[in-house]
Symmetry: C2
Subunit: 206 residues, 2 copies
DNA sequence: GTAATTTCCGGACGCGATGTCCGGACGTTG
DNA sequence: CAACGTCCGGACATCGCGTCCGGAAATTAC
């Protein structure tokens, strides 16, 4: 157990701790197109210029590394999204999505790895769904409030609609960021905003 | 090279070839909640009552097994979806989605495995995206035709909208099937249909 | 200065899973 | 009976993971 009074790394001349090197190297490899699953610990350590045994003195395993890499990813994108309110209208929604896309693009590699491992690792999946839960709860609440105010049709099912918005939207965003030209981002943001707006929040009729 | 004149398996009384046993066992284990990645060859063989060496005389590797398991999955759901035309209206779309959900529920296990492995195995990913391409092309074509006819706003970007519909919709469907109560299927189908209808196909204004 | 402590290296180890190979048992086919 | 195809059972090399330990190097405390 390290003492708290003692600085972790008093001297700054040193090439920063091995931990940071590993984090950076992983992000680099991921950004280079590698898949987290097919990425070996040895490979990461070689890229980081660190001994393999050192890796395990900083991370319990590869999953631990990924989770720590994930960090405050979701938190930031949640802040951006939840800043929007229906009162801001479809233009405001479009603007919000454009910002979300920027955030997604910045962390595309880690986000992709997260979605990847979440499909077969329960620990990562739990983390992922827990983070998505923020969005789900928030969206359901907003929809119910809009229904109360009579701006969203009462016949709409908030739970199903939210599943479409959050789950489907998250996937579409990830897809846009990982395999579409950034030049098409504005058009995509506009489509997403208008689809949710006219398809859900201001769905006409009935 | 086996002779063509000679029947592969003349006698039908035999307990069907080991290959079928492996396919069935895998589907069973998958349906039981197992993850394809964490599923070992030994485990599959034990469940199938087959020697491990026999597995490799029928399948090149686990990926080969999955691809063969995938078979005509996508084909059937494409047939169901593409049977719908905008002329059938939102009610027709709702009905089509309800049928798609049935198909998804039937093959949920394999579909989940497919989506899982597609995230890190390029061979499976290629297969998956190739199959999704059918839907993408079809949807873009429909949207363009609707714009020509003036029923869908001309300002809509067919490519971005299709990305939302196909990619996002596929994910929302998978989510509904894997983690929601079947009783909520009709409500979900209704929401999906209305969202795409009013949000895209018959988006109001401009 | 020296000693103690932290951090990292380098390599060993056991483990489990993958994919290959082969000898032999069994039933079918001609 | 003999040839053939299918399957079993186990041996084998290989790889990646996670653990462990002895020692080098640098930093800190005294």
């Amino acid at each position: 157990m390290p003492s708290i009074t003692r600085r972790r790394s008093a001297k700054l001349g040193r090439p920063t701790s091995a931990e940071a090197d590993v984090l950076a190297a992983t992000q680099r490899l991921l950004a280079g197109g590698a898949t987290f699953t097919e990425l070996g610990v040895q490979q990461i350590c070689t890229e980081a210029g660190v001994a393999r045994s050192t890796f395990y003195s900083h991370f319990r395993d590869k999953t631990d590394l990924l989770l720590r890499l994930a960090g405050r990813l979701m938190a930031t994108s949640f802040d951006v999204t939840s800043a929007w309110q229906p009162a801001a209208g479809v233009e405001g929604l479009e603007e919000a999505f454009l910002q979300v896309i920027q955030v997604y693009r910045r962390h595309a590699a880690v986000r992709r790895a997260l979605a990847e491992v979440a499909t077969y690792d329960s620990a990562v999946r739990d983390y992922f769904t827990a983070e998505l839960h923020q969005f789900t709860d928030w969206t359901i609440k907003i929809l119910r409030a809009e229904q109360e105010a009579g701006r969203t049709p009462a016949g709409l099912d908030p739970v199903s609609a939210t599943r479409i918005i959050v789950t489907g939207g998250e996937r579409a965003l990830t897809d846009q960021v990982t395999s579409a030209d950034p030049a098409s981002d504005p058009a995509f943001a506009r489509e997403l905003a208008h689809t949710w707006w006219h398809g859900v929040y201001r769905r006409p009729g009935t």
